[in-house]
Symmetry: C2
Subunit: 439 residues, 2 copies
């Protein structure tokens, strides 16, 4: 009686703080379907409007994490460090981070997702590698990790079922953009993988969840707090997503750029973010040496070809065609192209991440509904980033698509993504803040 | 796109006032099922926490009223006055009001409901009359009204379908007790009957929706405002429900008391409320004369036997056994009884309406879930009201039930309903406020 759905909804409706047991009852009701959709919808709105305390968020995160199976890494030697990004345009950091960290002795177990809307998904990117299998059993997940030092796969349906239902209902009830609900959704999934530590990349800018740096910092701080509440060592970063990360956007195009990065030819912003995360991972893993030693070790892992070698071994372990690593032309590439050229001379002041994401999406790289296929070879190749000086008529970007209608639709977005001015703009660092513990 | 459910939910979530079109889109989505339960639950909570303006309430009431079929009274000569009560314990006013008003020339078309929990329902009370049919087609509803001057029946399933769904969802999402949702639910149903005027009886006290007189006054004021917004002349009353109305609680017992009232033997409080409503109805119907003339006409309708005669004709028209009017022993009466006696001498200070309602309910007069049958002959007969001086050991009430276990369960409540003190308490009038227009 005391913990009936209506009773708990009324408590949150009236601004009360729910106890750990009440949060657990709610989460259990979500998972077991004993709470109806109407009740979950009402509770989500009450939470949205009345908020969650830090303790409530931590309790919700833990209860959601425990709502299904967790991924134990018994038998895999430490140190096992997971990585998470809140998602952006051209964000292929995971594809570089994982082999790079593995090359310096860290084990990287990652559960990733698929793209929806203008942000890509790591699984979609990886599936552009011919044959690569992202759906692994738990046993195979552990085996690949043990053998290659890294593993990237989709989450099992049995993991965090509470989030699966809550997320679907938040999507239709205008309760997506609430800090506590966002954090508990992300962190319950991340913490269900039993790693020894976690590095977080919270994006801010037009192509990210929030354009407000303070919101992003707050989100990052709260995620760090939740990880610590669960006893998981963690370092978080807030990084810019005003323009796309790197020069390539789209599934196979991003894999190509990741391969280039592992060959030492990565664009500056991508390498800045990847190194920041990898250095933090080395600290969490207590790998000997100071920051400069870590930087040197990472640089050596690339220069020696070891990071690329790890990636190739890993692709092979998940049934992919590892020859792509030496010959990226084996990756799919869409046949239709259209160039965007500078309308006039000047400085590139804006290269809007959201609009470029929408361009790639419209060209075929993204999906509108879960389950839809993507066109792996479509997307955008950039030739300039903001701050660059441009000649009138020079190519700024090429849009790729397999379909003329989609190419045209994508180009509408692409053409609107660019602003050129006479006044030079400063190039800014991409990593904005680092957050090591709740503060 | 602009009026997608999530968009409208977000507007209300952010405290915006919804336009008439938006309220209509919401109501239509509820009726057509294009809004999911989760979305309706979230919207109800957003409304609960962010409120509805007077205009939003009026728009919602109208949109709900128009969500299904409305009951047109074409062909029935004016003046047609409907009556509504928010419900209480022993509230048989409708059963006296309808024939009394009809006897002075008003047509009374009433759609009524069934009881749930501790409050009884007019349809359940009427069904204790052998043979009486409360499920009428629209044609028969109009015919009975034309022939006898009154009609009382259950609402058609096709009327106000939006309310049917909203009410069921409010019940499980802790969004019942919100003024705007309550008022739109009540008034959409009342206004769907196309009468020329409406009298309202808002109860306040332990046996009513609210024990707070200011809340009740506010509810009454808002209901009056909604009726006026719909162009329906209206008068509202706030009346006491601290103790039951009249001396009899339970289905057949209340019909008996209504028959007594129509014979001129009604208890004071029941007659006070009934006359107040009937006088207001005569004013709304613009029947010639001043208040004193109206009172006299009503008194004459009872003394002459005309009101009872209308009631008998009406019972006959709905297939009931009209001989009950002359011989109430034809009504069912439960065979098991238990008397509650005064534990000591003194003044009766409390006769708690809620607890007596629960006693009658437990004895068999009520139901816990829609659709359950009721025991028509069970209930409570009172011998005293608050303010009365009592002898030690004298009978205060008799509980009736058809089942020994239920009798015992009911008596537990009944015994707790009474307080006796040495200090006399004043008898208060039952009608507290009259509200003629929004003020």
């Amino acid at each position: 009686m005391k913990t009936s759905p209506a009773f708990l909804i009324a408590r949150k409706r009236d601004g009360k703080t729910l106890t750990r047991k009440e949060i657990r009852d709610f989460t259990h009701g979500v998972t077991s379907m004993s709470w109806t959709d109407a009740q979950v919808g009402a509770m989500l709105m009450a939470i949205y409007l009345k908020g969650l305390t830090g303790n409530e968020m931590a309790d919700l995160t833990k209860a959601m994490m425990e709502s299904g199976e967790q991924l134990e890494l018994n038998g895999i030697p430490p140190c096992r460090i997971d990585k998470h990004s809140t998602g952006g345009v051209g964000d292929k950091v995971s594809l570089v981070f994982a082999p790079l960290a593995a090359a310096v002795g860290i084990r990287v177990p990652m559960l990733s997702g698929r793209g929806l809307g203008h942000t890509g998904g790591t699984l979609d990117k990886l599936e552009s590698i011919p044959g690569l299998d992202v759906s692994l059993s738990v046993d195979r997940f552990r085996r690949v990790l043990a053998e290659t030092g890294m593993v990237i796969a989709g989450a099992e349906a049995r993991m965090v079922p509470a989030d699966r239902r809550l997320y679907a209902l938040r999507d239709v009830t205008a309760t997506i953009d609430h800090l506590g609900l966002i954090v508990s959704s992300i962190m319950s999934k991340k913490l269900a993988v039993k790693a020894d530590g976690l590095v977080l990349d919270v994006k801010t800018g037009s192509g990210a969840f929030t354009g407000d740096q303070e919101n992003a910092r707050n989100l990052c701080r709260t995620m760090v707090m939740m990880a610590e509440a669960a006893g998981r060592p963690v370092t978080g970063f807030v990084t810019r997503m005003d323009q796309p990360l790197g020069m390539r956007i789209g599934n196979a195009l991003e894999v190509e750029e990741a391969l280039a990065a592992l060959r030492g030819e990565g664009p500056e912003d991508l390498m800045e973010v990847t190194f920041a995360l990898a250095e933090a991972a080395m600290e969490l893993a207590r790998i000997n040496g100071n920051q400069s030693d870590h930087k040197h070790a990472l640089r050596t892992a690339i220069d020696s070809g070891k990071a690329l070698e790890v990636f190739a071994r890993w692709i092979h372990a998940q049934n992919g065609d590892a020859r792509c690593c030496e010959d990226p032309s084996r990756l799919p590439r869409a046949s239709l192209t259209q160039d965007l050229r500078a309308s006039r001379a000047g400085f590139l002041t804006t290269l809007d991440a959201l609009k470029i994401g929408l361009a790639a999406h419209a060209a075929g790289a993204g999906r509108d509904r879960p389950g839809e296929p993507v066109d792996p070879g479509s997307g955008v190749v950039l030739y300039h980033k903001t701050g660059d000086r441009l000649q009138a008529g020079e190519p700024l970007a090429t849009l790729y698509s397999s379909n003329a209608g989609r190419l045209e639709a994508g180009f509408q977005h692409l053409a609107r993504a660019v602003q050129i001015s006479d006044v030079p703009v400063k190039k800014e660092p991409t990593v904005l803040f680092r957050i090591d513990r709740q503060s």
